[in-house]
């Protein structure tokens, strides 16, 4: 399965490989530079493992100055650069190319400052997402965006992809919790955007950088917002007779003016897979599950839950399981949180990531089932229903090239379906190389040309993470 095109590696760069490696060795300490062919292998792909390219070299700097020195060297020598955090991108955002230097921020993993009075933390870009919350948890704070990969993924990568998670319904995604960055531009210039003061005047370059998939610069430090932990949190499990009814219930909860912290959805295939793996005690006689979590004091949670349960009853909810203890709450979440891993044990799968307006959930679920059935495949749906971020997992056999092709085709059809329903191609995983060529389904060429013109304001030579995000033909034209 090698359907996604890559740029031909530039022969002049590849020919100068040794010279470039020596040049890099002159600007960073020896232990920051990886050139050994075997040691380069871990960097040949990210979590979009179907595609691999061994980079020319990998640099793992420890300071902003080192990043700047490498960037300047690469600009001066016309060498493409691929920024990398932990490499957990599901869209191929951090996949390298043979003529590129990967700059990985994983060693820049210090928490530089925690400031409770101003409720901020300043961290290096390679700090993992979960570490921030771990660091401040004992003092009653947390960092809100919680991608499922939070144990591994870095803040740099979170900024690259504007990542979100189950609890973003209430707290927003990375861009809503990011206050500032230190960033190295392609030519080696170091700039600061934002900081502890809110809403800097001037163009919101910080907002632009967030979600730019490593195309505008390399983030080396970030200032993020800390939030006081709620007094308590409690999930409830609801089982319904059909996905459509569950979808309608989600819309009704929101429509009634209740914003829980999370509303997660699972259909029957997902329930079966997760229950077999996690033994979470999910009901097996239902077609769809919702996990609705609320926060606050005991009284507040009681009040909110009784309203939510009343709405679910109106939708003939078949099973209601309120967690009575922390252990039960953890059980309820365990099944959901292990969904990707559990699915990987029963089949190969590709994970889609489209978003749709809430009112379209039922329609899109139904059509998704039709599409997948048409290709003779199976699908498990598990996703963030509260903000309409769908994750159909299309199951197939990776060793069967025909099935693999069908899975990709079905995936593309589903994403187009999301766009046609008023949504978009990706809610949190990014475009990367994966959805690059679908971009023209959501945007016009004019829309994309405008985005590329803005990109060029940062990187006129088109050296930073080239051939990602924009359809390759448009991208090459722009890159000249």
């Amino acid at each position: 399965m090698d359907k996604i095109r890559f740029l031909e590696p530039r022969a002049d760069i590849v020919a100068r490989r040794e010279e470039i490696r020596t040049g890099l060795a002159n600007v960073v300490p020896a232990d920051c530079l990886v050139t050994d062919e075997r040691e380069l292998v871990p960097f040949e792909t990210d979590a979009f493992t179907a595609y691999r390219r061994v980079p020319l070299a990998v640099v793992l700097p420890e300071t902003t100055e080192q990043v700047a020195a490498v960037m300047k060297y690469c600009t001066d020598n016309g060498v493409p650069v691929v920024p990398r955090g932990a490499g957990t991108s599901l869209a191929g955002g951090a996949i390298p190319q043979e003529d590129a230097v990967v700059i990985g921020v994983s060693r820049m993993s210090c928490i530089l400052e925690v400031d409770y009075e101003n409720r901020t933390a300043r961290v290096q870009a390679g700090v993992t997402n979960l570490r921030i919350s771990d660091e401040v948890s004992a003092d009653g704070f947390f960092y809100a965006p919680d991608p499922s990969s939070q144990l591994a993924c870095t803040i740099g990568g979170n900024i690259g992809m504007n990542s979100g998670g189950a609890h973003c319904l209430k707290y927003g995604v990375t861009t809503n919790n990011l206050l500032g960055v230190t960033m190295v531009l392609q030519d080696g210039t170091v700039i600061e955007l934002g900081g502890k003061a809110l809403d800097a005047e001037g163009y919101d370059l910080l907002g632009l950088v967030c979600g730019s998939e490593g195309q505008l610069g390399i983030v080396t430090e970030a200032t993020v917002r800390l939030i006081a932990k709620p007094e308590g949190a409690r999930p409830v499990l609801f089982g319904f007779d059909s996905s459509e009814v569950a979808g309608a219930c989600v819309a009704d909860i929101i429509g009634a003016g209740i914003i829980p912290v999370a509303i997660e959805f699972m259909d029957k295939p997902a329930i079966d897979i997760c229950e077999a793996f996690a033994h979470a005690g999910y009901p097996m006689d239902v077609e769809a599950l919702l996990i609705v979590e609320v926060e606050g004091s005991e009284d507040e949670m009681d009040a909110m839950l009784s309203r939510i349960i009343a709405i679910a009853r109106k939708h003939n909810v078949k099973r209601v399981r309120e967690s009575q203890s922390a252990i039960e709450a953890a059980q309820i979440w365990k099944g959901r949180k292990s969904a990707f891993g559990a699915t990987g044990r029963v089949a190969d799968y590709i994970c889609m990531d489209g978003t749709v307006p809430l009112g379209q959930l039922s329609h899109v679920l139904r059509e998704t089932a039709n599409i997948v059935e048409k290709y003779g495949l199976r699908v498990a749906n598990v996703f963030h229903a509260g903000d309409g971020n769908m994750h159909p997992l299309i199951l197939y056999n990776v060793n069967d090239p025909e099935e693999a092709e069908k899975a990709e085709a079905a995936g593309a059809e589903i994403l187009k379906l999301c766009v046609d329903a008023g949504g978009c191609l990706t809610g949190e995983h990014g475009v990367g190389i994966e959805k690059r060529d679908l971009m023209l389904h959501q945007f016009t060429e004019t829309d994309l040309n405008q985005q590329m013109a803005v990109r060029a304001a940062f990187d006129p030579g088109w050296l930073l993470n080239p051939s990602k995000v924009f359809p390759l033909d448009l991208d090459m034209r722009k890159a000249g």
């Binding site: 400031d115 009075e117 409720r119 009653g140 992809m161 504007n162 979100g164 973003c168 927003g172 809503n176 531009l185 210039t189 600061e192 900081g195 502890k196 003061a197 809110l198 809403d199 800097a200 005047e201 001037g202 163009y203 919101d204 370059l205 907002g207 632009l208 979600g211 730019s212 195309q215 006081a228 709620p230 819309a251 929101i254 429509g255 914003i259 004091s297 009284d299 507040e300 009040a303 978003t355 809430l358 903000d387 309409g388 949504g423 978009c424 191609l425 990706t426 809610g427 949190e428 475009v431 959805k435 971009m439 959501q442 945007f443 016009t444 004019t446 405008q450 803005v454 060029a456 995000v469």
Partner: protein, 408 residues
């Protein structure tokens, strides 16, 4: 500001034609919604005014989806009314600045996006830019561009929506905007702490925001300002709680318990709380005068130091929103707004930015109204601007000081 010929295209396509022609002939355009903020920014000249007034009306609003889409020229009042009917709101709580700017007119939703103005709930619910989900605009080439969407989560391509938010009409002519909306917060009450000094108030507000009580507004009003907001009893530090009535009562107790050593307290009931926060939001204590007014944004704990440093040098008064991080600083006439003193104080207190929101035109023409940026950031911003409006036809010079010369 001189009155210019006003053109109000009735459709996006017509706007695109006008802009394409303007770009071709090198005609500059002032972009306006209701024009209530015309006096904000660097004074500049433009050949004609391009108004969104005829691009009006809510185009999509399904309350259960928490998204409202409207043409840029739709009056904010119309949006608020539609939301109100469905028990919803714009959570970023933008103020009505007409009292502050002394301008009449109909504030429009496009300008809400273009000016990125957020009120007291900014600290808990995010800014206008956080709520702005999607835009349609005409760029300086006369091309119609869309970006973002009408869903809560979207990482499809570069986020130009954020760029448009706060661009003050210098990057493109917005034709349609989509905002995330939220259910109204139920009722509200405000805990008032009486008599704290500015410094004590900063500590109290930080302690309050460090609790799990979900404070949705934290402001400090020194004595003179508190009086004008209708609060007697000396300086007032306001901590707002919103939600179900039962839960507010519980949280109020917890909040009090978390603030040991606080001077006397009282509680504003719903009606008084709403009225106090509206006045804070609209900067009412400093409305109705023509005196120089600065909007200063710094780290919350630095706000009172900035104010003290400035007010030691020049006469004036201040009050604080956003847990102390937003300082409204009104200076007395006769010192030309003291930009050097204000900006030096900001720099000494850990950095941030100071915007001269109000001052006589001559004063605004002679100083950088927006916080000057470091050279590389300014250069980058200029390249970004050129990527959207290469001929420089939109609001030329509104955001960038050109050294006191008026644009040609």
């Amino acid at each position: 500001m001189a009155d210019r010929e006003i053109i109000a295209p009735a459709s996006e396509a017509e706007a695109a034609d006008i802009i394409r022609e303007a770009a071709a002939s090198g005609t500059t355009l002032e972009i306006a919604g209701g024009g209530t903020k015309r006096g904000i920014g660097q004074p500049f000249e433009a050949d004609r005014t391009l108004s969104s007034a005829a691009l009006s009306g809510i185009t999509e609003y399904n309350p259960a989806e928490l998204v409202l889409t409207a043409r840029a020229g739709t009056p904010v009042a119309e949006i608020e009314a539609a939301l109100g009917e469905n028990g919803q709101m714009l959570a970023f709580e933008p103020g009505d600045w007409r009292g502050l700017t002394g301008m009449d007119g109909t504030p429009t939703v496009g300008a809400l996006a273009a000016a990125n103005i957020s009120g007291p709930r900014r600290i808990s619910a995010g800014a206008a830019r956080d709520a702005l989900l999607g835009v349609r605009f005409v760029n300086g080439r006369g091309e119609i561009v869309k970006n973002g969407g009408k869903v809560m989560k979207n990482v499809t391509g570069l986020d130009l929506v954020k760029l448009m938010a706060g661009s003050w009409g210098t990057l493109g002519f917005l034709t349609e905007v989509s905002f995330k909306v939220l259910p109204r917060t139920g009722t509200e009450e405000t805990l008032v702490i009486h008599g704290a000094t500015d410094g004590e108030a900063a500590n109290l507000m930080a302690a309050a925001l460090g609790t799990s009580t979900e404070v949705s507004g934290a402001a400090h009003l020194p004595e003179g300002v508190a009086k004008r907001v209708g609060l007697d009893g000396g300086a007032a530090t306001l901590l707002r709680l919103e939600g179900f009535a039962e839960s507010i009562a519980v949280r109020l107790d917890r909040l009090r318990a978390a603030l040991p050593g606080a001077p006397g307290t009282s509680v504003l009931d719903e009606a008084r709380s709403r009225s106090a926060w509206k006045r804070v939001r609209d900067v009412e204590p400093f409305a109705g005068t023509g005196r120089p007014l600065w909007k200063v944004s710094v780290a919350p704990m630095a706000g009172h130091d900035v104010a003290a440093m400035v007010l030691r040098e020049v006469q004036g008064e201040a009050f604080f929103d956003w847990q102390g991080g937003l300082v409204w600083l009104q200076l007395d006439d006769g010192n030309d707004a003291a930009p050097a003193i204000v900006r030096e104080a900001v720099a000494k207190c850990g950095g941030g930015h100071a915007t001269l929101v109000r001052a006589p035109e001559a004063v605004r023409a002679s100083v950088p109204v927006f916080q000057p940026q470091p050279v590389p950031v300014a250069a980058l911003s200029e390249r970004v601007r050129a990527a959207l409006d290469p001929a420089g036809i939109f609001n030329p010079g509104r955001m960038v000081w050109n050294g006191g010369r008026k644009a040609a």
